[in-house]
């Protein structure tokens, strides 16, 4: 919890004196990696942030997208990795709370959550089971209580997360453009702290999150209280309706230190506050504890004299505690007082802007050899292999998880969890699709192709609902940035995301960087996560019931790309090989063609082909519809591949479309016209999932047997584990 010698020197030069101990604490909180982005900020500048729908404003904690008719959608993503690795219930719950307040800060109502969860080997590791079970419960208890539906997400298990956890939460907000908070303040305005009381929980949380996880530091984990958060949401939205909020910021990492300095810096004003006025839950807290406590469910609101009474009345109606802690000044200083005595006085611009670093990077040595592997032998019984793949926790149904989340509240959820992307209805008659995707196994084998693949997959998932991608958020999770090889993977990922975003013209409207994701077991694999939002003008494609005789059409080419695949890693315990690579040009035309077909109303189901490859994608369609399918592998457009490669390759930019028999001709004509590689590869029928090559059957499993494995695997591991 301190500054480096260089940072101390920089600070002293900037303020022209030695800081006192409290000032040092304030600066150290704000200059932590978690709050300052000092390692990453320089590199993030290349991400494309402009777009015709993007609305940017000073001090927004979330991305804002114009969805027409006077409405906006907001989106943000955050993680709570360190806390969740120590105390999964509270860590995951407060992770939800934090990202929701970012959405609220813009003046929009949070309408959905998505979460990405990562743990160690759930089949063998009891600690991973405990972390998983409690993180899920933490998210459920928090989100359910707030009445914000958790509409989707993704889960990955990998040995690299042993004794650790990645808990990512994305939140989406919705509101009227005219209600967006303008974030302006003038001299004399009041600074009001609204919500939960300030206690000793989460003291130094952001520094804790900016270091390797060594000792378990439970007091740095925040305590969740969803009931207060729910009331805070209603207070803020009512205050917004009554125009009581001139500027607003949520209290997250770095607590008051961060909120005050960043607000003052963003608005170009000074703030003077008296911390003796802060409502506290514990007695005799020291000034530095008050300034860096990360107690949850708190919002900082700036209002003027005219509206202060109304704001107080609204807080009183909901019985939400508040304290008027300070005033806006015309200088640009943050001045902290304790009972009228100044205890810290710093230029907010200096506090809010840590000196940025230029960390060295070098290509990791392991990447030189990782592609060169000896291919595994084709298993004798591919039917058995398929069943094992379906019960693989990374592939198995996540029903055990999402049925614990209220995904219906708010009555917007049109396409529900368990499908490709989720779809929400909006008040202007349009629909919003959302998905997050990550893949640490791919990103380890090839950081560039891996993250582009995640981006492509999230886009494909959104496209499967009939939506056109309109914006993205990224969450970049890596190990210790001081290790040049790890830092290289970070830089490589940012460049890759930038390239894809520019090619597809999808602006990056928000993101987060989480570094130092390490435990005593070592660093995590590079785990960037991509969230994509898509907009549907008319009607979404809600997956229809597949019937006997429906056709299965496949788009895209299956290649020898099994590096980081579930098949290599789960079945053969083999790390390495060639990671699937996206051909952006053909991916874009393929996505556009899928959208065109959906608009023609001839697609019954569009399904992305990703984790587990073709065999898993077809099986999922069968299991969800309790109907068999016969697939002719010789028809699958592909490079020259062995049968296991055809079944389980994770090549990107592939889609499966289910089409009625009579729509086949029209479908194939459109695909041909657009120059999309495609083939009719199968037909739905019977009670078995069958993969054959010419006349010989390579794999055959009964749908009900497959379903039993797929549905019960995850819940079974946790409830009996």
């Amino acid at each position: 919890m301190s500054l480096t010698p260089q940072e101390s020197e920089y600070l002293e030069k900037k303020i022209g004196r030695k800081p006192n101990p409290l000032e040092l604490q304030i600066v150290a909180a704000e200059w932590s990696e978690h709050c300052s982005y000092k390692s990453s900020k320089k590199h993030l500048r290349i991400l494309p942030k402009e777009g015709k729908r993007v609305i940017s404003g000073p001090g927004y904690d979330s991305g804002v997208l114009d969805v027409g008719d006077g409405y906006v959608v907001t989106v943000h993503i955050e993680s709570h990795n360190h806390p969740s690795a120590v105390e999964p219930y509270g860590g995951a719950a407060t992770g939800v709370g934090g990202v929701i307040r970012d959405i609220l800060s813009a003046g929009t109502r949070p309408i959905a959550l998505l979460d990405g969860l990562r743990f160690g080997n759930i089949e063998k590791d009891h600690h991973a089971q405990w972390l998983f079970k409690n993180a899920v419960r933490g998210i459920a208890d928090y989100g359910n209580c707030l009445g914000i539906p958790t509409i989707g997400g993704e889960i990955e298990f990998d040995k690299c997360f042993t004794n650790y956890a990645l808990v990512d939460v994305a939140s989406i907000g919705f509101g009227k453009k005219e209600n967006l908070i303008r974030n302006k303040a003038e001299k004399g305005d009041y600074v009001v702290l609204i919500g939960g009381s300030t206690g000793r929980d989460g003291v130094g949380g952001s520094q804790f999150a900016s270091d390797k996880l060594e000792s378990e530091n439970r007091s740095a984990v925040q305590i969740p209280d969803p009931f207060i958060e729910k009331l805070v949401i209603e207070v803020i939205l009512e205050a917004r309706n009554q125009k009581c909020i001139k500027a607003m910021k949520d209290l997250g990492g770095g607590g008051l230190s961060c909120a005050i300095s960043e607000t003052a810096d963003a608005l170009g004003v000074g703030i003077e506050l008296d911390i003796s006025l802060v409502h506290k839950r514990e007695q005799s807290m020291s000034p530095s504890e008050i300034m860096i406590s990360e107690s949850q469910e708190r919002m900082l609101v700036i209002t003027d004299l005219k509206k202060l009474d109304t704001l107080k009345k609204i807080c009183n109606k909901f019985r939400v505690p508040y304290s008027v802690i300070g005033r806006v000044k015309s200088d640009t200083l943050m001045e902290v007082k304790l009972d009228k005595n100044t205890v810290a006085k710093l230029p907010s611009q200096v506090v809010a802007n840590a000196p940025l670093l230029d960390r060295p990077s070098s290509k990791p040595k392991y990447l030189i050899t990782i592609e060169k592997i000896k291919k595994p032998k084709v298993p004798q019984n591919l039917s058995q292999t398929l069943l094992r793949m379906l019960s693989n926790p990374n592939i198995a149904s996540k029903e055990w998880v999402y049925t614990q989340y209220d995904h219906e509240v708010g009555i917007r959820t049109v396409v529900k969890p368990g499908n490709d992307g989720a779809v929400l209805r909006l008040d202007n008659g349009k629909f919003l699709a959302a998905k997050i995707d990550g893949n640490s196994k791919h990103c380890y084998v090839n950081p560039r192709d891996g993250v582009i693949g995640c981006f492509d997959e999230a886009c494909r998932n959104v496209v499967c609902t009939g939506a056109k991608p309109i914006g993205m958020v990224d969450h970049l999770q890596f190990g210790n940035p001081e290790d040049p090889e790890i830092f290289w993977t970070f830089k490589e990922s940012v460049q890759a995301i930038t390239d894809y975003a520019k090619y597809f013209e999808i602006p990056c409207v928000g993101g987060k960087v989480s570094l130092y994701n390490e435990s005593d077991e070592g660093s995590i694999k590079p785990t960037p996560l991509i969230g994509v939002l898509g907009l549907i003008d008319k009607k979404p494609l809600v997956p229809q019931k597949i019937e006997e005789g429906d056709m299965l059409v496949m788009l895209g080419v299956t290649k020898d790309e099994l590096g980081g695949s579930e098949y290599y890693e789960y079945i053969h315990e083999l790390v390495g090989g060639k990671c699937p690579a996206v051909d952006m040009k053909s991916s874009k035309t393929t996505q556009d063609s899928v959208l065109e077909l959906i608009q023609h109303d001839i697609v019954k189901v569009a399904h992305d082909c990703s984790k587990g490859g073709l065999a898993v994608a077809v099986s999922k369609l069968c299991m969800m519809n309790k109907l068999g399918c016969i697939v002719s592998l010789e028809k699958v457009p592909s490079e020259k591949l062995s049968s296991d490669e055809l079944l389980f390759s994770e090549s990107h930019s592939r889609f499966l479309l289910v089409i009625k028999h009579q729509d086949e001709k029209k479908t194939l004509t459109i695909l041909k016209k657009n120059g999309i590689t495609h083939a009719r590869i199968g037909k739905f029928s019977g009670k078995d999932i069958i993969f054959k090559e010419k006349s010989s059957v390579l794999a055959r499993v009964r749908v009900d047997k497959a379903q039993e494995k797929w549905l019960n695997s995850l819940g079974g591991l946790v409830t009996h584990g």
Partner: protein, 226 residues
């Protein structure tokens, strides 16, 4: 004709209910804060779902002591239609307007899924447009949704035709698979499933018609012609 939707601190299905009553069934409805008095010209009352008081102590128990509950009781005694959904059902039980208790689901987990319920009493203000034994595809979402009552109470419920809905298949371990009940007079109905999440085709993956009849029953009770 006006429906009051009572909002407690932590209610979170209040706006959903308001949308369905107002925008879908064109029935005037008003959100009423729990410390406010019940408006004079109210014809029916709905207690929506959510987590009033964060489910502290026990789901619904604190809200049952809210000032507005006195008015609700008074109106219920006068025969006004009262519907409690999910947390609203829990509040009705905790306030003594309905018998029994709601315990944690046997899975010990919160459960959000689609299920089917069967109409067992089609004489209430909320079921009079439904057929006896008609099935309703409907959403459930609760952690403490397992209806429980002792044998004597269950016998009384049966005798007085107070069981309004049962689950078509075992869901959460409820006594007699009960999903919803009414008071002896039939005007106060409590149910765990969410009709407001199930009455519009766009968000109901099955068939929204049967659930919409719950609201049409209320329309008919209030003498509103569709």
């Amino acid at each position: 004709m006006k429906v009051a939707i009572i909002v407690f601190p932590g209610s979170n299905c209040d706006r959903d209910m308001h949308h369905v009553l107002t925008d879908v069934f064109h029935l005037e409805s008003q959100l009423v804060w729990h410390t406010d008095e019940l408006p004079k010209n109210v014809d029916a009352i709905v207690l929506p779902g959510g987590f009033s008081y964060g489910d502290r102590l026990r789901a619904g128990v604190i809200a049952a002591h809210s000032p507005v509950i006195k008015d609700v009781k008074k109106m219920a005694e006068k025969g006004m239609p009262v519907l409690g959904v999910c947390n609203g059902f829990q509040i009705l039980v905790e306030s003594g307007l309905l018998p029994g208790a709601l315990l944690r689901n046997t899975s010990l987990n919160f459960m959000c899924k689609w299920t089917e319920i069967i109409v067992k009493n089609n004489k209430t203000p909320f079921t009079n447009k439904l057929k006896l034994n008609q099935r309703i595809p409907i959403a459930i979402a609760n952690g403490e949704g397992r209806y429980y009552a002792d044998a004597k109470t269950l016998a009384m419920l049966k005798k007085n035709n107070q069981i309004v809905f049962t689950y078509a298949s075992e869901v959460n371990g409820a006594s007699l698979d009960i999903a919803g009940i009414c008071n002896k007079e039939g005007n106060v109905v409590g149910m765990m499933p969410h009709p407001e999440r199930s009455a519009e085709q766009i968000i109901n993956p099955n068939n929204s018609k049967p659930a919409s009849l719950i609201f049409e029953s209320l329309l008919s009770t209030l003498g509103v012609t569709a």
